[in-house]
Each structure stands twice: as C-alpha cells, then as structure tokens.
C-alpha cells in the first residue's frame, strides 16, 4: 500500500499494484469479496480503461 497525498486529512486509501495482483484479488483483500472489484474499477476510471489491465506499481484508490 502506498500513501499518495498532500492533504493531511485526505481519507483516500491507496493500493500499489504488486506482481500477481488482479482487481479481483485486491477486492478480496479489502472487501472479502472479489466480485466487488467493480467498485475499485469505478473509483479508478481516470487511469483504468480495462479492469483486466493493471500494471505493477500502479496506485489504485480503494473506496
């Protein structure tokens, strides 16, 4: 997980994509349910065009 904020009160949670990560796996980690990956995809539509295409090192907002 990486911190990416300048505002000390920014409540955004970030996840830095590691090797082997998928949105499904990330959703499982944070929500316990992989099928909720769409929530993460929607929160990162500015950088993600395809939920199957995430890059190692990419920082994703976890709503």
């Amino acid at each position: 997980m990486a911190e990416e904020k300048t505002d000390a009160w920014d409540a955004t949670q970030w996840h830095e994509v590691k090797k082997g990560d998928t949105l499904w796996k990330i959703a499982e980690t944070y929500y316990g349910d992989g099928s909720l990956y769409t929530k993460i995809f929607e929160a990162n539509r500015d950088t993600l065009k395809d939920p199957n295409l995430i890059k190692v090192g990419q920082k994703l907002r976890i709503p």
Partner: protein, 203 residues
Amino acid sequence: MKKLLKPMVLIVLVLFAAACASNSKPAEEAIKAAEAAINAVKGEAMKYVPDQVKALEGELQAAKDAFAKKDYKAALSAAKDLPGKAKDLAAKAKEVAAAAAQKEELTKTWNEMSGGLPKMVEAIKNRVDILSKSKKLPANLDKAKFDGVKAGLPEVTQMWDEAQKAFSSGNLADAVSKAKTVKDKAVEMMTTLGMQVPAGAKS
C-alpha cells in the same frame, strides 16, 4: 515696629513657599510613580485592553492637571492608586492574551478538523456500503466488529452535526471537543475496517 514688619513678611513668605514645596513633593512623586507604572505595562496592555489603558492614562492626566493647578492634594489623591491599577491592568491583559491564544488554537484545530472529518466520515460510509454488499468480510474483520461500526455511524454523524451547531452558535470550545470525539470515533472505525487513517487525524 516698621523695621520688624519686612523681615516678618519675608519669613512668612519663605514658610509659605516651604509649605507649598512640601505639599507638592509627594504629589510629584506619586505622579512619577504612576507614569512609570503605566508606561511599564502600556505596550502589552494596549494590544488586549486598549480602552482600559486609555482610561488609566486619563486618570494620570487628571492628576497632572491638578498638579499644574497647584492642587497637590487632588493630584496626590488621583495619582496614588494608579500603580496598583496599572498592575491590575497588566494581569487583565495577560488574561485576555491567554484567552486570545486559546481561541486562536481552538480555531486552528476546528479549521483543520472541519475540513478533514467530513472526508473521513464519507469514506467510512462508502466502505460500509461496499462491505454491506460483500458475501464474505475481509480477514481481520468479523461480523460483530462490522456491525459495531455500522451501528456507530449514525451517532458519529449526529455528533458532527452537533459540533457544527456549536461552532455556528459561537461555542468554539464545545465544537472542538465534539469534533475531537468524532475524530476519535472515526479513527477507531477506520482502523476496525482496515482503512488508511489520514495523517492529520493521528495527532
């Protein structure tokens, strides 16, 4: 007899002058002491209790005016209490300064929290909404803990509303106290849900 009259008049005049001088001396010293006492506290006191400083200076001026009119008794009477009043004024200025510093600190804290807390509460609500749709809760979060967070959310929202009302009605100390309660509760909830607590909320 005529020979004696002149020296006698002279003696009377000298005695009168001496009497006058002895009356003026205490008044003069009292005015000097009052002026020194007022000047010693004036700089700081002017920042916090300017009206009271001006009132005290007015009393000093009255003593000086009486002295100028050779009313030494009135001058002494007007000046003798001024050093004590100047001391009280310094204490009052200190009190007002401390209150102003406290208000400034509370305002700073409120401004920080009023900008940050709604973001925290919103983030918690979003996470609770998402987790409510989850078929299985994440590791380190059991149903009892999750239900506890869900049940506590309306209380946090209500407390935040109360904090804002307290601020709007000018009760800054109460507003900050309530906001701190909201912050502590929000930090606890975020930690329970495995969320990232904002740096500003950790202090």
